[in-house]
Subunit: 200 residues, 2 copies
Amino acid sequence: MTKKHYHHGDLRRALIARAAQIINAEGIEALTLRGLARDLGVSHGAPNRHFKNKQELLTALATEAYQQANEATMAAAEKVGEDPIVRLNAMGRGYMHWALDNRALFNALNHPDIKRSADTELLEAMRSFQLNVRSASIAAQAAGRYPDADEKILALYNNSVPFGAAQLIDHDVFAAEVDHLSRERLISELMELVVPLPKV
Amino acid sequence: MTKKHYHHGDLRRALIARAAQIINAEGIEALTLRGLARDLGVSHGAPNRHFKNKQELLTALATEAYQQANEATMAAAEKVGEDPIVRLNAMGRGYMHWALDNRALFNALNHPDIKRSADTELLEAMRSFQLNVRSASIAAQAAGRYPDADEKILALYNNSVPFGAAQLIDHDVFAAEVDHLSRERLISELMELVVPLPKV
DNA sequence: CCCACGATGTAGATAATGTCTACATTAACG
DNA sequence: CGTTAATGTAGACATTATCTACATCGTGGG
């Protein structure tokens, strides 16, 4: 058996990971620092060494989530090449896939109580993601998509669909739909409504 | 001064109203039953007469929110007459206006921790709202909007934009945009991207 | 008219939590 | 190899959710 270290090794990371699980499975109200400590086999005060309070833990969790979402979204764009319209479409799909594959983090990212107490690092992560989406939106507009629309409204629109749809699916409002259509097809057809791909 | 009644009068309603304020102002973690009791000048045990536990209060709050959102959305449709496409557009705008005018309730409605513990009444309110949106979506499709799209995906799409956009605006991600464009114009132009109104 | 009874509010107890503080152990590094 | 900062422990305290026994109210049947 693994010997008991006085020091955990990477308690900070373990706390964040376990917190994501709990929030996803039982909600933020069921998340307790003492419970986390118990689950990880450390004393109830240990988490305080890494997070001054519960809010700080939640903020760290959201930051992690934003960074992952950003990476997944941009990676999806890189895969499809240069066409700005194809890229924007791919970003929406990439975001949705990430959201549905990482529901715990996705929920953290959207949690109103987490955003409320954002620190500098989280704000930076949010800003970075927003900038990427906005740039892609502007590039697609330059390539001929909705040339007359207000740039800011277009960016809001582009955000809203993957963001809103992933939540609606996650919250089971559209659970039946996801059962019948394959998820891949659902996401593709949905994004086709927002950013139609050029006919080849 | 008002005399102190032993009985509050309508404590249940007062609790829900105050809870909405707290959640909106300080988050769900700051909401305590004892705090509510203090604010309303009753003993710490009084809320238990109306809600067996905190979850039950939150569920009641979300039910109220869904009913209001439903009413506001359908009232907006009624105002614009019979054309299904005009109605669908109006519903999106009506929903967004309600959401931004009632942020406390809107947040309750979207709160992942509230949906988790939905009871029969809340599920019914959610279902009713979904049915209304879906019917409107189908009617618009019959009137020629996206005739070839899958009906379920279309409904998801129609939901996602007002739902996602209202949250993005509320969470301050797009706060700057709302300052510069008037809210009315923002909502109209956004919905015009989703459900273009017929040229007159 | 009144009064018994259900609805509503009160007060105390208990277990659990967040967070603080003083102390213990360890790892890293000159 | 020893010092020091990082990390973990244990106990204290105020606050909370929730239960239970009791108090007060108002209302409808007699």
